[in-house]
Symmetry: C2
Subunit: 256 residues, 2 copies
DNA sequence: GCATAAAATCTCATATTATGAAAAAACTAC
DNA sequence: GTAGTTTTTTCATAATATGAGATTTTATGC
């Protein structure tokens, strides 16, 4: 079980519960989740769950497969999503940077965002040669701690939060080429020292990555930009250059 | 003022109000809306509004520009959006169709969805030659009744709902080359007869469009596929061919 | 720079609303 | 057909949201 949205200080219990359920459904994958699963995952009473979920279905924030009676994100969510992407949010703010990084290097670039214990791909530009990536397409995700963009965000959280997230994700690391807690902690240390995260074929053989968090002063890192390239291309100085490019773009984004 | 989400039958007032506010913010454009505006638009008490909005900001479903104190859609919404796009929702279901229509014609294709009184662009494939479109990029929108995809959806709603939407949008039509209620009603009639909507340079000079709604049996049309092409390319039989292509793809989508 | 207006935020007694245990209904599997 | 599981509905009760008004903060005019 992965606990999700933290309660908002005062009062609004129903909304907190609603967001927690939305999070669970969003995390639930393409097959959706049943009422029973959602009740178990959220710890809510089945009736309460049922009531909230059905209201959300009524508003099309969620959809229910009538056949299998499973809940998944609904059409209105997709619309909110494209709207959110248009506004002055993180996606718009990084659009130019992403394209420019792609153009200046020829490599695949990603915009990742922190979402609970995961790192979600919000946007990407494909490089000249098709490289396999951990997240696949937009919307894909990996546990926080896996991959350069993901490590980059994790590395600049408070230690308490890092510990909490690493512990929550422990069971999931092994499926990434036997990643371990120790390796993740080592990567965090390296990343903090260097300012950006580097992976040299550690996750996908022959594929390297460089990632740097986008940190608005006074806030926790919520997003990161990253490169994915062939290890073969990562000769001497290349990683450093890519780190410098990321820094340049991120400074511009944060500065505006 | 545009009324938005209808209340869900029983009970959940807070959630209804919350969704109404989310809708208003989603419609609010890139500059966002102030508390006062949202209170006025929603008809809610200022304090109630404030409480709900701030809870949503706490959950990052909304964001607030601290400078101008305006509310807009937040980062979590963007994440829900990309997740919703991945699942077995309308975007995924139309992905192949959109690409194939683009490939078979060389023209720009759109997936539009109904959202309150608007038609929102959920996805698109750019054609060989860049044509100006009403909605611009993904997330862009037009009033229901403007544009072929938009007319296509409107045409197959109940008459009551059509009237309601047309009346709500009256003030917005004039900015589209002096579109009028009469013209919209005429287009609806044509579309119902033909099965798909056609526009021949009526909205953007020299630009034609063909649109057809995606109708799941027993449901109201919620989405549409459409083409945008140069009028010059729309010689005899072309529009009919495009209509047939749309029908073919939509049958496949609905059938699955 | 100060005064005035306007908007946003906070407080709290009250009534409305959400809650969840339990019962009923609808599926599933055998 | 029956037993077991999951979903849906019910309803008395407790808990929560509500909104008028007070207070603070921000914007505007002079």
């Amino acid at each position: 079980m992965r606990p999700t949205a933290q309660p908002s200080s005062g009062g609004a219990q129903l909304l907190d519960r609603t967001v927690a359920l939305l999070d669970l459904v969003a995390d639930g994958g393409v097959d959706g989740l049943s009422l029973k699963q959602l009740a178990a995952l959220s710890g809510l009473n089945t009736a309460t769950c049922h009531r909230i979920l059905n209201t959300l279905v009524g508003h099309k924030l969620l959809a229910r497969d009538d056949k299998k009676r499973r809940y998944r994100l609904g059409a209105r969510m997709a619309i909110y999503g494209v709207r959110a992407a248009r506004g002055p949010g993180i996606i718009s703010r990084c659009e130019v940077a992403l394209t420019r990084l792609r153009r200046r290097t020829g490599d695949t670039t990603h915009l990742m965002a922190r979402f609970n214990h995961d790192s979600v791909c919000l946007d990407r530009r494909d490089g000249e040669c098709i490289v396999p990536t951990l997240t696949g397409s937009i919307g894909g995700f990996v546990p926080l701690g896996v991959g350069p963009g993901s490590i980059a965000m994790l590395a600049f959280l408070d230690e308490d939060e890092q510990d909490y997230i690493i512990r929550a994700n422990l069971g999931r690391y092994a499926s990434y080429r036997n990643l371990t807690e120790e390796k993740v902690r080592q990567l965090i240390a390296d990343t903090r020292r260097r300012g950006y995260a580097v992976d040299m074929g550690g996750l996908i053989p022959g594929i390297a990555g460089v990632g740097m968090p986008i940190i608005t002063p006074g806030e926790k890192p919520g997003a990161a930009l990253s490169f994915t390239l062939l290890c073969a291309k990562a000769g001497p100085g290349v990683i450093e250059r890519y780190g410098a490019l990321l820094e340049e773009e991120i400074n511009a984004i944060v500065g505006q």
